[in-house]
């Protein structure tokens, strides 16, 4: 995310260095959150087919390919930095429900969507995909309500689904359930909800920087 230009550019070097450090910290935080969520949510998906006693509990955390969590982490870092950046390019920062409790609620709903997709037995895949789509759109409406968020969400979800499908076709990645349709209906909604969630976190983190910058300009 090199396009994340500091908002009030370079009156002096210290501020720039400060903002770069800030950016790095934000990126790292987002990366860690992404990795964590990827591990946990993967676990949820794995459990769908697991019996009462999985052979060894902790090993199943890493049951997927090793590169999946880092990829998710990187993607979430990029998304989390991209959102505030686009906000800035479009004008003012995102103001709707900008507080941590709301972000936490968003994360909880995201985990809930995953939980539902993993644990609830749906009659058919159409139903599953419709439910998930409704839930994802609801998530966006409740916590985001910005056009940029919606557009970015759609775009990234589309790209991610495409990438995943390519990976699956090339045999680099496999699902526990071989049902192709199942995968296709399930994936974009989860991606979309994930993008919205990570964007929300990223915006909230950027809020701090924004405030700090504002205060600084006040003091100066």
């Amino acid at each position: 995310p090199g396009e994340a230009v500091p908002p009030r550019q370079g009156s002096y070097n210290a501020a720039i260095a400060d903002q770069t450090a800030n950016l790095a910290i934000r990126g790292l935080l987002l990366f860690l959150i992404g990795v964590f969520l990827a591990l946990v949510l993967n676990l949820l998906q794995v459990q769908r087919n697991v019996t009462l006693f999985p052979p060894d509990g902790f090993a199943s955390i890493f049951s997927s390919a090793w590169w999946v969590p880092p990829c998710c982490g990187t993607a979430s870092a990029v998304i989390g930095l991209l959102y505030p950046c686009i906000d800035r390019l479009l004008g003012e920062p995102h103001k709707f429900k900008r507080e941590w409790s709301s972000v936490m609620r968003c994360v909880a709903v995201f985990v809930g969507i995953n939980h539902a997709s993993a644990k609830v037995d749906f009659a058919n895949n159409v139903q599953l995909s419709l439910t998930l789509a409704a839930l994802s759109i609801g998530l966006w409406w409740t916590f985001d309500r910005s056009c940029s968020g919606l557009g970015l969400g759609f775009a990234i979800a589309f790209l991610a689904t495409l990438t995943t499908q390519l990976l699956v076709y090339n045999g680099l990645f496999q699902y526990t359930s071989p049902d192709f349709l199942y995968v296709r209906s399930w994936l974009p909604c989860i991606f979309f909800a994930g993008v919205i969630t990570m964007g929300s976190i990223g915006r909230q983190l950027a809020m701090y920087e924004y405030k700090v910058v504002q205060e600084k300009t006040h003091q100066d």
């Binding site: 676990l43 019996t51 009462l52 006693f53 409790s101 909880a108 809930g112 609830v120």
Partner: protein, 1234 residues
């Protein structure tokens, strides 16, 4: 639109009335709500407890029928899980084998090699058993549970567990059920042990699985006590066939009869397993809960402006939780049994229901006008938010309704729950939370009222006059307002919430008690319902550990069958007999083998296995037992006796190598040691683990403690309780901050209350109501000089002077002579004395002139009581006289310039006491710089007097003024005096050092002082009025401060003026207060703050004269102001010290002071605040508002409040207690400074 508007109005009105109702009858409504919650939660009692232990149900074998799928008939007898066929029937063949009689030639390995070898023939028998009758031919193959595949993760066990075919396991699986492999195995023990996991483990191991009995019971070890090998052949059957099993049982019994076997074989035990939550399943759950708590935390953090944040947050959480419980209870009541895992959906429900409404309500109520009645505030707040609340509620209901039509059962159930939860949440918000909020608001108003009262009580008539009485006598104790008695409580208000919670927990030991009670109740319930067979387990444990041990019981069972023996006789003997092989060998020659015995504990040997034995056994084949059950059939006992010869024949050549020399001699002592050693080892492991856990816990608690209490209270070598005086401020919480070894120096000498204090860090000057000025050494507390009031001379006429001389016993000198004789000295001009925060605000008291007269009389009568010892004092008289004579010529030219000097000089020379009118005045302002004291007096003719602080000689004075000096500032070589009539006088002090000067001073040498004043006693000091600004202010000047080349004055005319010190030019007139200025602060960094009678505090930019910020902080006057780099500290007549953030103007916190000590505080460093209290001073951490320490100043000053407080350079604190001063020198404070 009109419909909408109408609806909106109706809703608003409804909420308004509801709010009125809630605020009017809080207690009945809360009680009603509690009853509702309890009623709705009542059905929850029927729900099973969350325990994961298996549940058992026993039926008879004889009339066993596979239970029907649908529950029918008496539900009380059968548990509801007992439906349909079980996953499997477990049939165990329990084999006990022993070599008997034991032979000395045998090695320990022989004890289990040939008995284990028997398993193969037995397996063959079982496999090949065929039962044929009229209904057909049945074999085990037809009945048993066919398994297909091991779990892919278990490749390691592939060779050991049957991969397809019958699920039949035995120890023979170790050797692939092949006798040849067994015979050729050189080390049986190693084969058995190599699959055991290392370290501690709780789940079933492979050894348990294959042997089918608990590891300790098998007897397969080199030092087995009784050399009986026990194992089982376990088979899982799909179908229950009575006849086949009966024939198998009778066949095995016939082939291998077990003598004296008295096992009852009539009960079949069905074991039901609940769903067990693995670690992997817990992780997402834990994650959702973490997110939930973060959500709750971030939400409740927003609650603000209420009396008790914690209380309201708790109420909010209680609202949400009880609404969830209510919804579950209601759903259960109406027959909707919750099939969802409650713990999993709970966080999502909370998130759906949310805390938003609660927060919105709080915010709305808080933002209503404060002066309204509580009832009306609540009602208004409710009705303001009613529309949005209803709208949100409707939206949520719609969303849930949509969810309900997804027709997915799980989602439908969730939606149903959510609807009920939402409705009950709304109910609780409206009734419970609103009421709690009204109570809270009322409490806050009460607290506000309480806080306001003392301020009004302290100063009832003070307001009207432009000049408040400077000296309020210590407030009368039995004040009409009993509020003053609650001072400790007020102090407690200051403690941070965090500490208060911790203290509360510590005092009540709440957490401990709750945990203890919870544990006891939990264990009680578990024992009562006995889901995990705890009772039997405990019983087994007890019997195992009893001194009789496992050996005692078998013998009891064996005893009756001894041929010819008297049963009772043997019974008497045997229990005491040592169960050594030697003894048993003697007893049982040619009869039943020694060790093999069947007791009741063999009946259900599987009970001693881990309760996860069966689930893990089946999970290897991907069969889950969760929410299902298995039926365990009674065991088939089989006994093998192996003769020593057989044992020798089957011996492997390498077996003898393992024979330890000790074991070859089966002495009674040697053998019984092995087993305890082994059991002890586990004990040690457990102990070590416990120890490690304990250490970890201690470390964790330590870290927690460091987090919660970052200050190191107990350090600095401070000891507790040595200096305990009175109540410490935190006593209510059971915690007392350590009282350190600070011994305050008491500076006594003044007879009247002290009203002015000045200090330059090294010296301290004080002036009492009587006008007596005393100079003290700030480090030692010695009184250096006493400068008596000249009024004395008038009262006690001629004799008074001698009395005074002796009475003070110090360096008292004849001021008249000195003042005139010494004249003007010369010396360096600038004193690099940095001005420190001087909170001693010289307020005025022109209203009380008669008080001074009163003082004078009492003063005059005292001297005779003190022994006159004129000789003890340092006699300056002679020296001064000589000095005067010598220097007289050099003085005269200087005197010509300042007009007042000749007057003074004339008087002195005339050897006459001054005219009484000149000195009939009190000192209103006092300043000390270097060795010079500047005093401003109150009387009609006013003068600035300069005294030599050490010698007490009047160096010069200036009597230009006509109006009383209300304030003085002494900066560099300039003195600024503010007068009652609003004029401002600038004086310059010139110090001329004459050449060829003799040093007379022999008094206390003060050369070591760092900012030493640069003149000596014989310098000529002149004080010239350089400029007088006649109309600086319209009204009396109340405050005067000087720093950084600026002089700032504050006046009753609501303005602040800034003058330049050099040319006394008025730079700015700062307007912004709506009352008289009462406090000003300015320091070297040009920070200017002012406080007024309107309670407002303004921060100004001195360079531009613009107002930086403006806050209203106090009810009543702001009495004192100090700024640090980060914050502004103000005190007011409301006895509140407020700490503000300097940049934002946000109030950080406030400290409630004791009545009358409101203005007494000082800043020692940027992070240390000291406040005065009733007979004590308290130290606070400025950044966090934590009380660090309270120092009691002495028994005599217990009841008196600290009225003034001056911080000196060396971190000593001078407090003014009526007529005496206290010098507190705090070592720990110095450390804090670093």
């Amino acid at each position: 639109m009109t419909v909408r508007e109408k609806l909106r109005q109706k809703i608003s009105a409804g909420f308004y009335w509801h709010g009125l109702l809630c605020a009017s009858y809080p207690v009945p409504i809360i009680l009603f709500t509690a009853v509702c919650i309890l009623t709705c939660c009542y059905p929850l009692l029927k729900l099973p407890l969350p325990g994961t232990g298996p549940v058992e149900f026993t039926t008879g074998v004889r009339d066993y029928m596979v239970p029907p799928q649908e529950p029918s008939g008496d539900p009380g007898e059968r548990p509801d899980w007992y439906r349909g066929p079980p996953v499997a029937y477990i049939q165990q063949v329990l084999v006990k084998a022993a070599v008997s009689p034991w032979d000395n030639r045998l090695v320990p390995v022989d004890a289990f090699r040939s008995p284990l070898g028997r398993v193969f023939s037995l397996l063959d028998e079982i496999r090949n058993h065929v039962h044929s009758d009229s209904s057909g031919v049945r074999s085990l193959e037809a009945l048993c549970l066919q398994v297909t595949d091991l779990l892919p993760g278990l490749r390691r066990m592939q060779a050991l567990l049957p991969e397809h075919g019958c699920l039949l396991v035995s120890p023979g699986n170790y050797w692939q059920n092949q006798r040849e492999l067994f015979d050729s195995d050189p080390d049986l023990l190693r084969t058995v042990q190599q699959y055991e996991p290392k370290g501690l483990h709780t789940s079933a191991t492979l050894k348990d699985l294959l042997f089918g009995v608990h590891g300790k019971q098998t007897g397969v070890s080199l030092n087995s006590r009784n050399r009986v090998v026990t194992y089982t052949i376990t088979m899982a059957l799909r179908h229950y066939d009575v006849r086949f099993l009966g024939s198998l049982r009778s066949r095995l019994k016939q082939l291998h009869p077990s003598a004296n076997c008295s096992l009852r074989e009539e009960h079949m035990v069905h074991v039901h397993f609940k769903e067990e939550i693995g670690v992997a399943e817990l992780i997402p759950l834990v994650t959702t809960y973490i997110i939930l708590f973060a959500y709750i935390y971030f939400s409740t953090r927003k609650i603000d402006m209420v009396k008790s944040k914690w209380g309201l947050a708790l109420a909010a959480v209680v609202t949400v939780l009880s609404s969830l419980l209510m919804s579950v209870g209601l759903c259960t009541l109406f027959g909707l049994t919750p099939t969802l895992n409650g713990g999993e959906i709970f966080p999502y429900l909370v998130v759906v229901i949310g805390l938003e409404n609660v927060l919105v309500l709080t915010k709305s109520v808080v933002s209503t006008p404060v002066d309204l009645e509580v009832k009306l505030r609540i009602a208004q707040g409710l009705s303001n938010e009613s529309w949005s609340i209803m709208k949100n509620m409707a939206t949520e209901l719609c969303i849930i309704l949509i969810g309900y039509f997804t027709l997915v059962p799980a989602i439908q159930e969730f939606c149903l729950f959510a609807v009920v939860g939402l409705v009950s949440d709304f109910f609780l918000q409206m009734l419970f939370f609103t009421t709690v909020l009204s109570i809270d608001i009322r409490r806050m108003e009460l607290a506000d009222l309480n806080r306001r009262l003392p301020a009004e009580a302290g100063m009832p008539p003070a307001k009207p006059g432009p000049l408040r009485p400077r000296e309020t006598p210590p407030p009368p104790r039995p004040s009409p307002h009993t509020i003053t008695l609650q001072t400790p409580a007020f102090r407690n208000l200051r403690l941070p919430k965090r500490l208060r919670v911790v203290y509360f927990l510590a005092r009540t030991r709440l957490a401990q008690r709750i945990i203890m009670a919870g544990t006891v109740i939990w264990i009680g319930i578990l024992l009562y319902t006995d889901p995990a067979g705890l009772r039997t387990y405990l019983a087994a444990q007890v019997s195992e550990q009893s001194p009789l041990g496992g050996a005692g019981l078998p013998h009891l069972a064996v005893a009756p069958v001894f041929p010819g023996g008297d049963p009772t006789g043997t019974l008497n003997v045997l229990p005491q007999a040592d169960p050594t092989p030697a003894l048993s060998e003697n007893l049982s020659q040619g009869h039943a083998p020694p060790g093999i015995s069947w007791g009741p504990e063999d009946e259900e040997g599987w009970r001693r296995l881990s309760y996860r034995h069966w689930p893990s056994f089946f999970s290897y084949y991907n069969i889950t037992l969760a929410k299902r059950y298995i039926s365990i059939l009674p065991v088939i006992p089989v006994t093998f006796h192996v003769t020593p010869r057989e044992a020798l024949e089957t011996r492997h050549p390498q077996d003898t190598r393992h024979a330890p020399p000790l074991q070859t001699d089966p002495s009674p002592n040697a053998l019984p040691h092995g087993a305890p050693v082994q059991t002890d080892l586990t004990l040690y492991k457990v102990a070590a683990l416990g120890l490690a856990a304990g250490v970890l816990l201690v470390l964790l608690l330590f870290c927690l403690y460091r987090l919660l209490c970052p200050r190191n209270y107990g350090q600095n070598g401070v000891q507790h309780g040595r200096r305990r005086r009175g109540d410490l401020p935190c006593d209510d919480y059971g915690y007392s901050p350590p009282v350190s070894e600070i011994s305050p120096l008491l500076l006594r000498g003044h007879n009247m209350d002290i009203e002015c204090l000045a200090s330059d860090g090294m010296l301290l000057a004080s002036c009492c109501l009587a006008g007596q000025i005393r100079v003290w050494d700030a480090q030692t507390g010695d009184c250096l000089t006493v400068i008596p009031n000249h009024g004395l001379r008038r009262c006690s006429s001629s004799g008074g002077w001698e009395h005074r001389d002796g009475w003070d016993a110090g360096a008292v000198t004849d001021l008249e002579t000195l003042g005139g004789a010494e004249g003007q000295d010369a010396g360096g001009a600038g004193y690099p004395v940095r001005r420190r925060a001087a909170p001693s605000r010289p307020t005025l008291f022109g209203d009380q002139p008669d008080l001074t007269a009163l003082i004078d009389t009492s003063f005059g009568q005292q001297p005779p009581s003190q022994a006159p010892s004129a000789s003890s004092g340092f006699d300056f008289g002679g020296l001064v006289e000589r000095a005067y004579l010598e220097h007289e010529p050099s003085v005269s030219p200087v005197f010509s310039a300042p007009p007042p000097q000749p007057v003074q000089r004339r008087r002195s020379l005339g050897d006459q006491p001054m005219a009484p009118t000149d000195w009939d005045s009190a000192v209103w302002a006092l300043e000390l710089r270097g060795n010079l004291i500047a005093a401003g007096r109150s009387s009609g003719k006013l003068e600035v007097c300069l005294w030599d602080a050490v010698e007490g000689s009047l160096r010069c004075s200036n009597e230009d003024g006509v109006s009383g000096i209300t304030a003085l500032a002494f900066l560099n070589n300039r003195i600024v005096a503010a007068r009652l009539n609003g004029s401002l006088d600038f004086f310059t002090v010139d110090i001329n050092k004459p050449l060829g000067l003799l040093q007379y001073r022999g008094g206390p040498g003060r050369g070591s002082m760092p900012p030493s004043p640069c003149y000596s006693s014989d310098d000529v000091i002149s004080c010239q009025l350089t400029r007088s600004v006649q109309c600086a202010h319209q009204k009396p000047i109340t405050v005067l401060r000087a720093a950084a080349g600026r002089v700032v004055t504050g006046s009753q005319d609501h303005t602040v003026r800034v003058y330049r010190l050099e040319d006394s030019c008025c730079l700015f007139t700062l307007q912004g207060h709506s009352g008289g200025i009462t406090a000003i602060y300015i320091d070297q960094t040009m920070v200017l703050a002012s406080g007024g009678q309107d309670g407002a505090i303004c921060l100004w930019d001195v360079l531009t004269g613009s107002r930086v910020s403006h806050v209203y902080g106090h009810r009543g006057d702001v009495t004192s102001l100090v700024c640090t780099t980060s914050c502004v500290i103000s005190s007011g007549l409301d006895d509140l010290i407020c700490i503000w953030d300097r940049s934002t103007g946000i109030k950080l916190y406030s400290i409630q002071q004791v009545l009358g000590c409101g203005a007494s505080f000082g800043v020692i460093s940027d992070s240390l605040l000291v406040t005065g209290g009733q007979g004590c001073v308290s130290f606070w951490d400025l950044n966090f508002g934590d009380l660090l320490q309270t120092v009691y100043l002495g028994a005599s000053s217990e009841g008196q409040g600290v009225r003034q407080l001056v911080v000196l350079d060396n971190a000593a604190i001078v407090c003014d207690f009526g007529s005496e001063l206290s010098l507190v020198y705090v070592p720990s404070v110095l450390e804090k400074l670093d």
